[in-house]
Amino acid sequence: MPPARPSFVCASCATALRSQAPNTSPALRAFGATTAQLQPPAQDLPRWKQTPPAMKMPYRLRPQPNQPVWKVNEDPEPLDEMYDKFVGRAGEAAKGQTGVDSTKGRDLLPEEVKWLAITHKSFDHGRRGFNDRLALLGKRIVSLQTSLALLHAPTPRTAPSDPFLTTTHNNNNSSNSSDIFHHVALEGAENITAFSKAQVLSPTRLAQLAQSYGVDKVMRWKPKKSENLRGSGVETVLAHTVYSIIGALAMQRGGEVAARTARERVLLPLGLR
């Protein structure tokens, strides 16, 4: 007959545990070939909503940090509104794809992906997943679209008295433009510099853009100091989340939707057409 409780739990502890967590009792579970099927997570809770019960300690060992408790949004409605605001009309590129009824931001992504895209690694110790990979892809997409947008951008401010640092648009220096190979495809190429890209995609500006879309209200993360968000790197996390939303759109709805969102909803507000 299998034991009622494993041998490493004494009787008094078993009673205490039973009273503490009447529903789940992971400590009373015996490991081994005779184990019954591991109690699955509560069926009605989706994955984004609960941390996997097997990864949780039944009680907290360390003291609570000496700062206000940090709470994140758990309500789907503000999240959907944020997605609508973020994607705007760029979702129309997804028309015609199977399973796309409406092209509002909230309908482009499934529920799990929507929550995953705004979950930072710091949230719940990464147990509910995080958006690093999506952000990596999103950053590549945004970076490429930035370069392409810089091709059409007006000339950045160059030192006015410098005759050699000129672009093809500068008409004063036709004398030396004969040494430059002119081609219609290469117009605006000199606008692409690492400096101008870094200026456009600076994390602070992206963070401000994200705040305007309401991302800071819905993203799930855990600051180091809940009273000092700036010092805890909220701007980095906001920029990270912007990238990951673009990446999620790319993985779920294809490159066209993601590129359009990057162009119209991220770069355009940052000043690049």
Partner: protein
């Protein structure tokens, strides 16, 4: 027997031997039409321009193509060039061969043909791709713009390939694989595989088909990697430092993690500007390297002053051959995109980058695989992993072998052999983790996001090659170790 009259032959319009040059004619015609109207094109010059398009064979037998710092080509250029011009305003100095010389370069034409580049890419642009900013700092003459664009393109294609084919790859392995595909070392070896040679020193007189850069003097301890970038953008390093990211791990009270690299660092997770040499001083925002550039930090963290850019090759920072090679390959990709479009770039990426074999299973590094596997099973709701001995031999000998399998309930997750029981157990756990992280969806289900990008795709709903989009596997993330 009659004397061979090469000039007679050449005076008739012959089709060039290289069919690619025939297609180049369209590109050449831009050259004559976009000459500024103010400048008079003298009849001798016009004749020279049209003749040089077709008469690459028009050389005297004695003149040879020289690759190094000889002046033979210099004299040839001077024949038809500025001596006969009316006095023009001061021309910009040339630090690399002029684009007119690109037509004459056999190396360049051979490179173009060898790589099967699209005929839409003119030789002049390919010649510009071979000029590193250290050889000529002016953006209109060097490959810097193309290199930035090409880096974006190659990086984008590589990242989406990796993420779509291996959706569960951990971040550190993703960064490493990205570097293995399109990192500097790989691109440098691609450059040498292509057969592009490097000059000893840049100049106007060298062949247009050689990679021009100002070589770094060995023994100097300068910043490795793309040192040019930090000089060119003095604000970014400080942006990073100001926001508490993009900083070196050795700074006080700072630990460089993996997640923040997505925002601050480059596509390989490396610090932009490279890691300096060991023992380098930590630069503080107050004591910056760029003297004279007064920083007016805007409210959005960007700087309002421009970087002080070098004006001539005397002021440029020397680079390594490896960096210049990488810039060249990226520049080819960027130039190909500008001239020939996205499809040609994708083909280029497939032919030169994805054709390389990468063994991903060797790129993992686990410190506690048994612990990680236990957390993985807990997260996914599997039964906890149990290691069991499957078979063994030679327990009391000098070389025992224990085959250990890791089971989740009755399911064997993975097995491995080791020289001791512990080693077998640990290796088996690592094998299971690798098999989890290296999961790849069936090939028929993988559709890359860029395959459905573009106006045509948006209109018809089908991408290139008729691929219909389907959502790709999105994994929640790796186990945080």
């Amino acid at each position: 027997m009659k004397r061979v009259r090469l000039d007679r032959w050449a005076s008739q319009l012959q089709p060039p031997r290289n069919p690619r040059l025939h297609a180049q004619r369209c590109a050449f015609s831009h050259e004559t039409t976009t000459l500024p109207r103010r400048r008079e094109v003298l009849p001798q010059q016009r004749q020279y321009i049209t003749q040089t398009q077709w008469q690459c064979q028009r050389r005297t037998v004695s003149s040879k193509r020289r690759a190094s710092t000889a002046t033979a080509l210099q004299e040839e250029v001077d024949e038809g060039e500025p001596e006969v011009l009316p006095p023009t305003p001061a021309r910009a100095p040339l630090y690399a061969p002029s684009h007119r010389k690109a037509v004459h370069s056999a190396k360049l034409a051979a490179l173009h043909a060898r790589l099967s580049l699209s005929p839409k890419l003119p030789l002049q642009t390919l010649a510009r791709c071979l000029v590193d900013p250290s050889a000529d700092p002016r953006p209109a003459y060097n490959n810097a713009p193309f290199a930035v664009l090409g880096q974006d393109l190659l990086g984008h294609h590589t990242t989406e390939h990796l993420i779509c084919h291996y959706p569960r790859l951990p971040m550190s392995v993703l960064f490493a694989a990205q570097y293995a595909f399109v990192g500097e070392a790989t691109l440098a070896s691609i450059r040498s595989e292509w057969g592009v040679e490097v000059v000893a020193a840049p100049g106007m007189e060298v062949d247009a088909g050689l990679l021009q850069l100002k070589r770094q003097v060995p023994g100097n301890s300068l910043m490795e990697g793309t040192s040019r970038q930090v000089k060119d953008m003095p604000g970014v390093r400080k942006l990073g430092a100001k926001l508490g990211g993009g900083r070196r791990n050795s700074e006080w009270n700072y630990r460089r993690g993996i997640s923040s690299r997505v925002v601050f660092d480059d596509e390989f997770g490396e610090l932009v500007g490279g890691e300096p040499y060991a023992g380098a001083q930590l630069s503080t925002p107050a004591a910056g390297e760029d003297d004279g550039a007064v920083e007016a930090r805007g409210a959005d963290g960007t700087t309002s002053t421009l970087p002080i850019l070098p004006r001539s090759p005397d002021e440029t920072e020397p680079t390594t051959v490896s960096d210049a090679s990488a810039s060249f390959v990226r520049a080819v990709a960027g130039a190909l995109y500008l001239h020939a479009g996205a499809a040609a770039t994708k083909t280029f990426h497939r032919d030169h980058v994805l054709s390389r074999q990468l063994e991903l299973h060797t790129m993992f590094n686990f410190t506690h695989p048994t612990r990680d596997l236990s957390r993985l099973c807990a997260r996914e709701g599997f039964e906890p992993p149990v290691a069991r001995l499957i078979s063994e031999t030679g327990r009391l000998s000098r070389t025992p072998v224990f085959v250990v399998g890791v089971y989740s309930g009755d399911n064997l997750l993975g097995e491995a052999a080791g020289a001791s029981l512990n080693e077998g157990r640990v290796r088996a756990a690592a094998a299971v983790l690798r098999s989890w992280y290296l999961y790849s969806p069936p090939k028929g289900e993988v559709v890359l996001p860029s395959e459905v990008e573009g106006a045509a795709a948006a209109a018809t709903g089908k991408g290139k090659l008729g691929k219909v989009w389907r959502p790709q596997v999105i994994d929640v993330g790796e186990i945080v170790t």
